[in-house]
Symmetry: C2
Subunit: 178 residues, 2 copies
């Protein structure tokens, strides 16, 4: 069973678009039947919020077949070698042969750690580019969301499909690196 | 002969600090005798400026033994699969076994491409973290530099040692990833 494993930072952007583009083959390869999505992230407050948005987007705009799993690691950032080691170890056993690893979100050292793990486990490495104007549009929409809306949506119940699906970019391009 | 190969973005920060920390063994490993530094970058104007600053910093604050080579690629950003391919191909043949690859600067896809190339060629992967307050201090100093000063310094002549060496952070931490 093929998984999508994605790093996440303070913005939800990218992972749902990657999932959709892989499913539809809109990345220059064959359509990929992804049944599970792992989100690997720090425990920073802003990142926690981004996770809730990702969850809401998947629940509101994705298919019901996909499972989405949250993997928060006990660090708030990667500022030291120790932080990096915790992140690297947190990746262990998560990425299998044939999985897709999306490094779009999070700190650069997280992205590189995930890509290295992917290469070593014969997984594919992908990223999704969201045009700047689309990114700005989405960031503005996020600012307008109420905290309760995000909290509710983050519990896995779609409370406003239209609103949350507007956070998805139709112009996102997914690139297969390896 | 061991090289340091670094990606570069719009800020010069990181690569000189990585070089110094590798030279002195201040990264948790043995001191590394680096004789050559390759800077891999796009041809964007702001990145061009960052290259001139890097050159000035090495000339003013480094030892005379190190050679620094500029490798500008014919793209301004990584916005498409084609851009990525040009970047990836630009890396080919640049990274050898035992080299050190610093992915601190530039777009995330550039960092990941460089790290993947490093892994495949049995090179080491490093990054340098500059504390936020130091980063801000340096950015402010850069804004105060005159264009002519940067142009002159970028030609490889140290016109103001004190000024350019202030752009180096003493609190930068280099992490060896693999």
């Amino acid at each position: 069973m093929v998984k999508l494993v994605a790093t996440l930072g303070t913005s939800p952007g990218g992972v749902f678009e990657t999932y959709m583009n892989l499913k539809s083959g809109n990345y220059g390869g064959e359509p990929v039947d992804i049944k599970e999505v792992y989100i690997i992230r720090t425990s920073d407050k802003a990142v926690e919020l981004a996770w809730k948005l990702v969850k809401a987007i998947f629940v509101c705009c994705g298919s019901k077949e996909v499972e989405i799993a949250d993997i928060p690691l006990p660090i708030n950032d990667i500022a030291t070698k120790e932080d990096y080691e915790i992140f690297r170890k947190g990746l262990q056993g998560k990425i299998s042969k044939g999985d897709y690893v999306d490094f779009t979100g999070g700190r650069k050292a997280m992205s590189v750690a995930a890509a290295i793990n992917a290469i070593r486990n014969s997984a594919y490495v992908v990223t999704t580019i969201i045009p700047q104007n689309e990114y700005n549009r989405i960031q503005n929409l996020i600012k307008q969301l109420k905290e309760e809306e995000i909290e509710e949506a983050g519990k896995g119940k779609c409370i406003n499909k239209e609103k949350f699906c507007e956070l998805v970019s139709k112009d996102a391009r997914t690139i297969l690196l390896t």
